[in-house]
């Protein structure tokens, strides 16, 4: 599903975010990305959804060579990748329903289908009753659920989550993890950067550890491996 071959990323300021990363993530895998802050986790994820392009090397997602993609084609690739952030990034003036529907409207899905699909997804994340609330009226965990609903509403094959539980208390975090597991169970490939030792060590999945832009560890059913 996601394949990197000797990927380097050097930012204009000269910092090497990634230095020769090669990795293969299969369809329907659930991968934790761990490592100290500034190790290159975010760059790794940005490369997947083509926010950044590699300085050297090749990345393919879902069979498309992302680095060589014509700018015109980028939107169509992104429709197959859902992104979730630590800070939710909801639109404050839109209701829960509108925030999720927005992701379908801007890719010009028909209205009738939008209504049905959005309600479906809100039910999945457990927020059907809050469709008309504004983000500010929701708890952090609920806001993250809305963000996840928005990420999956277009049925992407890959979900990229950058510290999705970073702003949440432990109990709420587990709720989000259950949701991500459910989405993974339904067929999506999930790449999740995290600093949450408890989650990684309890809900055991493949762990890829990055330090100084290099993969230092890649274990199926691995452990977090860092002291907090």
């Amino acid at each position: 599903m996601i394949e990197m071959q000797d990927v380097w990323k050097t930012y204009p300021d000269g910092s090497h975010a990634l230095r020769g990363v090669s990795v293969l993530i299969e369809r329907n895998e659930f991968v934790y990305l761990v490592g100290p802050s500034g190790a290159g986790k975010s760059t790794f994820m940005k490369l997947i959804y083509r926010e950044e392009v590699p300085t050297k090397g090749q990345i393919s997602v879902n069979g498309f060579n992302i680095g060589k993609l014509k700018p015109r084609k980028i939107p169509y690739i992104r429709r197959n990748i859902g992104v979730v952030f630590q800070d939710f990034r909801l639109l404050p003036k839109m209701t829960v329903y509108e925030n999720v529907a927005f992701a379908m409207e801007v890719i010009e899905a028909p209205k009738r289908i939008i209504r049905k699909r959005v309600m479906e997804v809100l039910e999945l994340v457990g927020l059907k009753g809050k469709a008309n609330s504004l983000p500010a009226q929701l708890s952090g965990g609920e806001q993250q659920r809305v963000a996840i609903a928005r990420a999956i509403v277009n049925n992407p094959a890959v979900i990229v989550a950058d510290e999705p539980t970073g702003n949440l208390d432990p109990e709420t975090s587990w709720g989000i993890m259950n949701l991500l597991e459910e989405i993974n169970f339904r067929g999506a490939t999930i790449v999740m950067a995290t600093h949450n030792k408890e989650i990684v060590n309890t809900l055991r999945k493949r762990v890829i550890a990055i330090e100084n832009g290099v993969i230092v560890r890649d274990e199926p059913r691995g452990e977090y491996g860092y002291e907090i």
Partner: protein, 305 residues
């Protein structure tokens, strides 16, 4: 594009126009002012053109004959001139009629000067007035008439005159009006473009979160750009429509109320009915184009999609 998508873009564009409040107002006003001045020059230019045409049509060649030539010679000269293909009309003005006209033109002041003259000692020559088919070639025709006289051993034509320079002067005035207008309008259009571009920049800034999410979930670039184009076009359209309405109303009032004054000067103003479509079309078309240009500048510069 789906119809519902088009509606969405229109709604989004109009919404940001309203949301940008004073900035939109400034852009709309700047468009309106620039185009108002353009409109004034356009109307001025139309009228000068029209006037030039009127005067051109009145331009005649006057052929002064020698004082002591025979009646037969006079008629022969007339036939020769009339035979030229460039000549549309030729009229004989006997010296008596010439004296009469001179008296009329000079009025009170001329009475003393012409007091002593009558049919017996009329100092004026007989003349032909000649109208030409194409006023722009009047100099050429005058030369041909002169050549007819020169070819005759009696030298029956004393001189050939026409409004040398008048037509050329009018053309020069028209061009000057047009050029000055163009320079002013270009400068103002440039300012208006920058103002609109700045307004759109504000919109882009205000919507950067939304734009970020649109990109993330895979909205196409054109989908993201459309509302900004529409906002720019709306600014241009509204500004130019306001200007067109005001300008034509004011001009109509001018034409109506000054008809008599200008009529006395033998000037007929171009009416709104004749010029409205041209002026309105030009102003609204240009205004909308400036709006789109202004927004494209900002979209290109600030909307990295």
């Amino acid at each position: 594009m789906r119809f519902s998508t088009l509606l969405r873009h229109l709604r989004e564009g109009a919404l940001s126009l309203a949301r940008n409040g004073w900035m939109s107002f400034a852009s709309v006003s700047s468009i309106a002012i620039s185009l108002f001045i353009l409109g004034v020059f356009l109307l001025l230019s139309l009228n000068v053109n029209n006037l030039t045409k009127q005067i051109e049509n009145q331009v005649q060649i006057r052929v002064f004959l020698d004082l002591d030539i025979s009646q037969a010679k006079i008629e022969a000269i007339g036939r020769s001139i009339g035979a030229l293909s460039e000549v549309s009309r030729i009229r004989f003005v006997p010296k008596a009629e010439g004296l009469e006209m001179l008296r009329k033109n000079l009025g009170e002041d001329g009475r003393d000067i012409l007091e002593d003259y009558d049919d017996t000692n009329n100092p004026l020559p007989d003349t032909y007035t000649v109208e030409v088919v194409d006023p722009e070639r009047i100099a050429e025709v005058a030369a041909k008439i002169k050549a007819i006289g020169d070819a005759d051993p009696e030298q029956p034509i004393r001189s050939v005159r026409y409004g040398q320079g008048t037509v050329e002067l009018l053309f020069r005035v028209t061009n000057a009006v047009r050029n000055i207008g163009l320079i002013i309008v270009l400068g103002l259009a440039f300012t208006a473009t920058l103002l609109i571009s700045n307004t759109i920049r504000l919109t882009i800034f205000a919507r950067r979160r939304e734009i970020g999410i649109m990109k993330l979930v895979g909205a196409t670039n054109s989908f993201i750009r459309w509302p900004f184009f529409i906002e720019g076009a709306l600014i241009g359209f509204i500004g130019s429509a306001v200007t067109t309405a005001l300008l034509l109303a004011a001009y109509n009032w001018l034409v109506q109320s000054m008809q008599v004054e200008f009529g006395l000067m033998m000037i007929r103003l171009v009416t709104v009915r004749e010029s409205g479509l041209l002026v309105g079309g030009a102003l609204i078309g240009l205004g909308t184009a400036i709006g789109i240009l202004g927004s494209s500048l900002s979209i290109r510069k600030y909307l990295k999609v």
